[in-house]
Symmetry: C2
C-alpha cells in the first residue's frame, strides 16, 4: 500500500489526522466527509483527498470516511504497530519527564532502558525503567535490537553522544538537545524537537496580534 | 515591512532560516546565494526567494544575501526584540527543564515567575525564578503585563489551567501538556509542542528505512 516518496508535508500532517480522528472517535463520530474534516483542521477538502490518495483510496465518494477504519489505516502507515525498541540517554529533567509521563507504547515504541553518567542515578528505577551506567550502553545493542535513542543529554555532550550511538548501530535519534547533530551517516534518521522554533512561531503570531490590536485601538479612538 | 497574512508554512520556516543563518555566521560565512542556502536546507532557491519576498526584498540580484543582515531582518520579523513577559505554570520535570536550561531571552522572552500547587516547591528559587503558589497567579496579571504562559501542568489539569489563564487575560499559551486545549477565545494564541507528532514522524521514516533495507538485503541475496 505504501508508495515511495510521499512528501514531508504529507507525512507531517498524518499525526495531526490521527489526533483529530481520535478526538472524533471519543466524541462518538462514526463517519466524516473530507469537507467537514478539512473545516475542523483548517485544510481544504481537496488537500485532504490528495493527502490520503498518496497511500491508496480511503472512503467512498459521497459517503465520507469511516472514522475508525481511517484511523486504523493512518496508524498503520505511521508504523504504530511496529513496536520499535528505545533507549533513553540522559536522565535529566526532560529525560525523566519522558520516562515518567510519555506513553511510548501508544505510538508503537517501547523503552528498554535508560542511561546516565551520574553515579547517584545508576541502579535506580524510574517509572519502571532501570537507569544504567552510560558505559553499559554498547551492551544494549548486542543484547537487544535497539532501534531508537531518545537523546536528552546536555548540549555540551550532544555531539559525542550522538556519534557514539551511530557507532553502536542506532537507526534513529529523537533529539531533545536543542542542538543540530551533524551526523554523517545518511542511514540514521534524526528527528528534532526544536523548542525554539515553536516559541519563535508563537512570538511571531503574538507580535502580529498585538500590532493588529494597536491599529484597531487607534482607529477606535478617532 | 510586515505584510498581512503570510502563510503558516512560511512562518514555520523562518525559525529554521534563523538557525541556519546562525550556523553560517558561526562558520564565518558572510554572504550566501539563495541556491546555496536552498541546497543546505533542502529547499529550492525559488522557494527561498518567494519566502523572503513576503516581507520585502532582502539581498541583491547576483550578489546573494548578507548573512548578518538577513539574520537581523528575520529575527526582527519573528519579534525577538519584543521582550515578551512569560509565566510558567506547573514546575514538574518539563517545567523545571525549561526554567533551568532553556534560554528564553535569546528568543525575545523573559520569565517573570513560575507557579505550582505543591507546598514543598512554593518559595523555592529554581534557576533564578521564584516558585509561587498557583493561587497567586492572578496577581501577576495586575502587577505585570504578562503576555505568555508556558503550560506544563499534568494532562488532567490542562483544560482548567488554560481556562483560568484566558480569564486572567493571557495573550498566548505555549502548551506542553500534550493535550488539545479547546480555547473559545480566538484572540488567544495557542502554540503546541506535540511530542507525539514528532515521534510518529520518526516512526514513519524509520519503518520506511527498515522496509527499504529489507528489500535491498533480499535483492543482494539473489
Amino acid at each position: 500500500m505504501k508508495q515511495v516518496k510521499v512528501s514531508n508535508n504529507v507525512i507531517r500532517r498524518l499525526p495531526r489526522y490521527l489526533r483529530k480522528l481520535d478526538e472524533l472517535k471519543t466524541a462518538g463520530v462514526d463517519r466524516i466527509s473530507s469537507g467537514e474534516l478539512g473545516r475542523q483542521m483548517g485544510l481544504t477538502s481537496s488537500q485532504i483527498r490528495q493527502d490520503f490518495s498518496c497511500f491508496g483510496e480511503f472512503g467512498q465518494q459521497g459517503y465520507g470516511y469511516n472514522v475508525t477504519a481511517l484511523r486504523g489505516e493512518i496508524a498503520s502507515i505511521l508504523g504504530t504497530n511496529r513496536d520499535f525498541s528505545v533507549v533513553l540517554v540522559g536522565v535529566g529533567n526532560i529525560g525523566r519527564a519522558l520516562i515518567e509521563n510519555f506513553c511510548f507504547e501508544q505510538y508503537g515504541f517501547h523503552m528498554v532502558s535508560a542511561y546516565d553518567v551520574r553515579p547517584e542515578l545508576i541502579g535506580k528505577n524510574i517509572g519502571g525503567i532501570n537507569i544504567q551506567d552510560i558505559s553499559d550502553l554498547p551492551q544494549a545493542f548486542t543484547n537487544n535490537d535497539v532501534e531508537v535513542a531518545v537523546l536528552c543529554v546536555p548540549k555540551s555532550m550532544a555531539s559525542t553522544a550522538a556519534e557514539d550511538l551511530v557507532r553502536y548501530g542506532i537507526r534513529a535519534i529523537w533529539n531533545f538537545t536543542n542542538t543540530e547533530l551533524n551526523i554523517t551517516s545518511s542511514d540514521v534518521i534524526v528527528e528534532n524537537i526544536h523548542f525554539s522554533d515553536s516559541l519563535l512561531a508563537l512570538g511571531y503570531y503574538l507580535a502580529e496580534s498585538i500590532d493588529q490590536k494597536n491599529i484597531d485601538d487607534a482607529r477606535a479612538k478617532k
